[in-house]
Symmetry: C2
Subunit: 299 residues, 2 copies
Amino acid sequence: MSSTSTTAAFDTRVSAYLQRLERSMDAILPPASTDPQRLHEALRYACEGGKHLRALMVYAAGETLGVDAERLDAAACAVELIHAYSLVHDDLPGMDNDDLRRGRPTVHKAYDEATAILVGDALQTSAFEVLAISAALDDAQKVQMIRALALAAGSLGMVGGQAVDMASENLTLTLAQLESLHARKTGALILVTCQLAAIAANASETVRNTLEHYGRCIGLAFQIQDDVLDQIADTATLGKTAGKDLAQHKSTFPSLLGLEQAQQRAHALFDEARNAARSISGHADALLWLADHIQQRDH
Amino acid sequence: MSSTSTTAAFDTRVSAYLQRLERSMDAILPPASTDPQRLHEALRYACEGGKHLRALMVYAAGETLGVDAERLDAAACAVELIHAYSLVHDDLPGMDNDDLRRGRPTVHKAYDEATAILVGDALQTSAFEVLAISAALDDAQKVQMIRALALAAGSLGMVGGQAVDMASENLTLTLAQLESLHARKTGALILVTCQLAAIAANASETVRNTLEHYGRCIGLAFQIQDDVLDQIADTATLGKTAGKDLAQHKSTFPSLLGLEQAQQRAHALFDEARNAARSISGHADALLWLADHIQQRDH
């Protein structure tokens, strides 16, 4: 575990990073009054709320590698846009059919289904746009980032994981299958936060590999924790429907390992992530803080 | 009108360009046997068929500017991927709810709704990926192309036009409103084919502006023709449901102008496009052929 002093230190920077994110989002999304107004209102609605852990990971990884925050802004914004688009589409009636997200009606509930489809589509476009128009990155970095983000988001990454997840309802998966599913569905976008920071830093391959190991451990631990929270937390705390996995007859880490063993596995992965962070730098406070912060979340 | 000899000349190159497109598509889309198989099968299904007019416009515009075909491949593939994604999502039950596309069942009919949502999402990702990984373009060109494509595809372009179109059902638009709607919904992606070719050519601003004028004329003429065909052609010829505009109480160019005047307007726009093409180069055979070819289409 990181010491109290370093934890406090990064804690004071988190709100500044979240403000940077908000400014980037505000700059890339057209004003809500832009024609077509309903679409642009809904685009902003879809990006409100949330914990922005992925953006914070970009900043934390970048800070650890000594990158100026302005060279991380586009990447932080891009991963949040991809994440937001995936939530809007996952919640659609044709997918998970969910009414609640981040404690509020989902986009297709607050607006309508057609708008929600288009909102997801436009958010994805904006993710690539924000990288392409960044004034702080050189063209080589932009291209590498777009390539990494596309690989993480596409049919071999997040979208592929979502497809496997839907096909796996009512099936009992092996632990290896479940880990592979989540490495794509949620892991790929968490991992890419580390890759984007490494690109912004022009990091060596060794540093990049270690940072990716941190990202993979956090990604898997995050998902195990998600499964645990789905089982033990209530809907009000989660801000989304609780108990969904059981209702959809999905294999989860608690269902395969038991609740206690699942929690132990997540604990071990957070420790492994912290060890990876420490081996990158003696000043990995930000990555250590983030591991602690994610480990302690209750929603 | 272009002379018979130049028409024949480009005609012989069309099949070579379409083969290049097919190779690019085959390279960017994972094999259908890739896990998750159903998703990857559906991704390829969604890209089969079609006239590939947008890809041909990239090649025709690039050829006119003296660009090697290999520096146009990624752009041609990217616009077709964006087009294919937009069709898959437009056909969804939550949008136009269409069963037929390119003479075959739509993706959500041939597979299922969740798969169709994910297919559209992954195709859009691939469009940006194919530009980012091109071996024939330099990084500055890739970034400019990604930026142009994002602007054309996003909430200020194609997706915004689709939102306006859906909001306009049962409304009578003015001609200016209808033109503005289609400048976004179909025009933006046709226009960007010219912009991408100009970027590949590192063209001067004057050339780029004239080429854009060609693209805007073709885009609007194309849409007027689409409205005319929806009214006069049958479903078998169109390969998609005919008579939809009337059924959905949509304003169309024939409904606002009358059928004959709409046809005359399209005719004048095709002439204007040809004049723009001729003013770019004395060897604009490809662009002239394409204007003729689109003008003569019956579906």
